[in-house]
């Protein structure tokens, strides 16, 4: 049946009927505009989600028993490390009989919210029970839980809190505003985070999701692939509606109803085609709150402010957010200043012809003047700080030169040319010339630094007596490995977002990787500061853009050298990227009589952060400064 024939079957819509319908809707809307009424409607719709959910759990008991994906015997181990003290309690409620009772009680509590509206005494306890029991059941139902659970928890908790203070209208109003703002946030976040993604912008995402059996529908998938323009239009409409949803708070009431209605239709479509039934109720439970805010504003404008005082919650939230933004930006500035000072009195500065200023540390060992100088080149997204353990390990044995590439650590990027990795190679060569004059050097590079030193070695010629590459980046790695190519694509996306976010003061929100804590406290603090500073990421992005070009260019042969090239690889890197071994061997073959050493039990950054691993790699480095006495790297294979 096509659209035309559907229309033919509908009764003609005459003006009086239309007016009656809109008047009816208007009455309902006016009724829900009172915060208490809005909360009643919200808790009821949300209860549908939770009753449905509990009935579903009771219908799928097998999943919770031994051999199911909700089997607590295994699920508990993840929880036991996080909440050791709660385990006796969680173990008890995970017993099937008690679990059954909790679900039956939840169904009862949910249904009790449908008692006549004047029955109110039980409502706050029922809300609180639905929220608390969701919290208790959640660890057990870890696999398979979804956003509708979070939303239902949010609504019931808000309804409970909105009833405290002996029916104070302020509490109810705050609850309504909270739900309305959360709903608006959820749509706009969902939209904005999609806009970031190329898959969504090009329109590939929608048919991509619908082609899956889990969240898709064959009929709609085939229809959308047959009508690509319509498919793109639908995806873009969702993007715009979601992102712009917070406008409901400022649009004229009728337009706001239109937006809310469109989102309701979106959820109904998701229920039908994606199998997301519980989400319909979960999201619609926030609509009474949204409509209450919209209606309240309309009512206020009609009665010139006499009806209600201005909303307090949005004002408090705006004030707190503003304050946090000031603190965030302020701490970002303090952090930056700290990094620039952090190299200490030992550090020197060198300005290269590219105008960049490199901060470096030259550490001399007694009696090592005749030996080559060991020069360290850091990887992508890292500074000289990362070499801390190498400095400790080699202190007093050989002369070392640690520096940060322009933009990292205390080194500054002032170049006015458009950046390419060649500039970093030139900077390195210039620094070595300035610091080491015509002395022999051994070059050590980690990750991208490994690739850079092989290029610098071409320029430095026979003064380079040895090269040690630690998990080096190979220009061909993206071409040979699909996983690395995917990783590169994701990195490309994230690189663009991190620096601006850190400038906005979000540094404190950034999770710092666990290997940082393998360094001594003072060094770890500095690494944390560097990782939360925008300069590291804008530098990383600049380098990445150039590196991505290298990756996409046809892979030629590596620069050859007369120096011995040793490669040290982490076993986990090789396990994750099996193609890497051949690429590492190619590096070895580009030099003279080197070899590949694989270090067990570590990963890409463990090669720098793990002291015990560094001790082994330092032994490989020292072979190059005393070339006549080959030493076997202990414990390596």
């Amino acid at each position: 049946m096509n659209a035309r024939s559907v229309l033919a079957h509908l009764p003609p819509l005459r003006a009086p009927r239309l007016r009656a319908i809109t008047a009816g809707i208007g009455d309902v809307l006016t009724a829900v505009s009172r915060p208490r009424t809005a909360l009643l409607a919200a808790e009821r719709m949300s209860a549908v989600t939770q009753v449905l959910s509990s009935v579903e759990y009771l219908f799928s008991r097998r999943d919770q028993r031994p051999g199911g994906l909700g089997d607590w015997t295994y699920g508990r181990s993840a929880m036991a490390t996080r909440f050791p003290r709660l385990m006796p309690f969680l173990d008890r409620v995970s017993d099937e009989k008690i679990d059954n009772v909790v679900h039956v009680l939840r169904i009862g509590a949910g249904l009790s919210l449908f008692l006549p509206l004047h029955v109110t005494a039980h409502r706050a306890p029922a809300n609180a029970f639905l929220a608390a029991s969701a919290l208790v059941l959640h660890p057990k139902n870890h696999y398979g839980s979804d956003g509708s659970d979070q939303l239902a928890f949010l609504v019931q908790t808000s309804a409970a809190l909105g009833r405290v203070g002996r029916g104070s209208p302020r509490a109810a109003e705050a609850a309504v505003w909270f739900l309305a703002m959360q709903a608006a946030l959820s749509y706009s976040v969902s939209g904005l985070v999609k806009i970031v993604s190329r898959t969504w912008r090009t329109g590939e995402a929608l048919p991509g999701i619908l082609r899956t059996r889990t969240y898709g529908d064959e009929g709609l998938y085939r229809f959308l692939t047959a009508h690509p323009r319509l498919s793109r239009l639908a995806a873009h409409t969702v993007l715009v509606l979601e992102t712009a949803f917070p406008l409901v708070f400022v649009l004229p009431a009728r337009a706001a109803y239109g937006v809310v209605g469109a989102m309701a239709a979106f959820h109904l479509a998701n229920a039908r085609y994606m199998g997301l039934a519980r989400f319909v109720w979960a999201f619609m439970a926030t609509y009474p709150a949204i409509l209450s805010v919209v209606q309240g504003r309309a009512a206020r404008s009609l009665t010139a402010g006499a009806h209600r005082s201005p909303a307090r919650l949005p004002a408090i939230v705006a004030a707190v957010t503003g304050l946090l933004a000031v603190v965030g930006v302020g701490s970002a500035l303090v952090r930056r200043a700290g990094i620039e000072r952090a190299d200490g009195p030992e550090a020197r500065r060198h300005r290269t012809p590219s105008r960049n200023v490199l901060s470096y540390r030259l550490r001399r060992a007694p009696g090592a003047e005749a030996l080559p100088l060991v020069v360290f080149e850091s990887g992508h997204q890292s500074s000289a700080t990362y070499w801390h353990w190498y400095g400790e390990e080699l202190a007093g044995r050989v002369d070392t030169l640690f520096y940060s590439r322009a933009g990292y650590g205390a080194s500054s990027y002032f170049s006015r040319d458009s950046y390419s990795l060649q500039e970093s190679v030139d900077d390195l060569v210039d620094l070595v010339d300035a610091v080491a004059a015509d002395r022999d050097v051994v070059l050590v590079g980690h990750s991208l630094g490994g690739y850079l030193v092989t290029r610098a070695a071409e320029r430095l010629g026979s003064r380079v007596t040895g090269i040690v590459l630690i998990d080096p980046t190979h220009p061909g790695e993206v071409a040979v490995s699909a996983v690395q190519a995917e990783g590169a694509r994701m990195l490309d996306m994230s690189m663009r977002l991190v620096a601006p976010s850190l400038r906005l003061g979000l540094g404190v929100m950034l999770d710092v990787p666990p290997w940082v804590s393998l360094y001594p406290d003072e060094v770890a603090a500095r690494l944390r500061a560097e990782l939360r500073d925008h300069a590291l990421w804008s530098t990383a992005k600049r380098e990445w853009t150039s590196l991505y070009q290298v990756f996409r260019a046809p892979v030629g042969s590596l620069p050859t050298t007369s120096a011995r090239v040793d490669v040290v690889a982490a076993d986990r890197t090789l396990r994750e990227h099996p193609h890497q071994r051949a690429l590492d061997e190619e590096f070895v073959a580009a030099g003279a009589d080197g070899r590949l050493t694989v270090v067990d039990g570590t990963d890409h950054l463990g090669l720098l952060a793990d002291r015990a691993v560094v001790t082994r790699i330092a032994a490989v480095v020292l072979q190059h400064t005393t070339p006549r006495v080959p030493v076997e790297a202990e414990g390596a294979r």
Binding site: L52, E56, F59, S60, D63, P66, L69, D71, Y74, S77, L135, H142, Y143, G144, S145, G147, Q150, V164, A174, A175, F178, L185, Y187, S190, L192, V193, K194, S197, T199, P207, G208, I209, T212, R213, T214, Y215, G216, D217, E218, Y221, T225, G275, R312, L313, V317, V320, T321, L324, S494, L497, S501, L506, M509, L510, D511, R572, R575, E576, P578, G601
Partner: protein
């Protein structure tokens, strides 16, 4: 001389503070780049700080299939069999779909298994997701043996996570996680040397 505020005023102010704090916390944990999720550690249960990044930034565009095969005492290996199941979309799912959670659970656990790829074999075998799925398969094998679908007497099995593009049959399956050989009896030693899985 200040008047003491009424208790209800104190309580409602506290309620407003809770809502404001909760909202700001939610706002600060929605960055498209998950590394900005630091504050989510405040919610180890994963229920109280909502995650509004539905199907974004990169939506899943493939199904997760959990497959397994068994090894008989004679060393014979069975063909791969699917342990997960996905039902065809029907109108009734818009109202009632108790299987939704199980289907999503395969997604969730599949993601956790793929994340184990960088670990050593021993660490991998200790991960709760690995042990959970191993036990899931153990029971699935028993059920099929009881039903007579599978020759009894196998001593070990192996499982894998395969991603496939669903109704779009132009794509190739992606084998994203392959387990080692798992003994049928939990904790039992395997008699024969395991074959190379790479």
């Amino acid at each position: 001389m200040g008047r003491r505020p009424a208790p209800t005023t104190v309580i409602t102010t506290a309620v407003e503070a809770v809502f404001a704090g909760w909202f700001v916390l939610t706002l600060l944990t929605q960055h498209p780049q998950r590394s900005f999720d630091r504050l989510r550690t405040l919610d180890p249960v994963g229920l109280t700080i909502p995650n509004w990044r539905f199907f974004a930034p990169e939506p899943a565009t493939q199904d997760f299939h959990l497959m397994y095969r068994t090894r008989g005492a004679d060393g014979q290996v069975s063909p791969w069999h699917e342990a997960s199941s996905i039902v065809r979309r029907r109108l009734v799912h818009a109202f009632w779909f108790p299987g939704r959670r199980r289907e999503k659970a395969f997604f969730d656990v599949g993601i956790d298994l793929i994340a184990l790829n960088s670990l050593d074999v021993e660490q991998m075998q200790q991960a709760s997701s690995y042990r959970l799925v191993a036990n899931y398969i153990r029971h699935a094998v028993e059920r099929r043996e009881r039903a007579g679908d599978l020759e009894p007497g196998s001593d070990a099995f192996q499982f894998m996570v395969v991603l496939y593009s669903g109704y779009d049959e132009s794509g190739d399956p992606e084998y994203r996680f392959v387990s080692g050989l798992v003994p049928r009896v939990e904790g039992a030693e395997l008699p024969a040397p395991t074959e190379d899985q790479s």
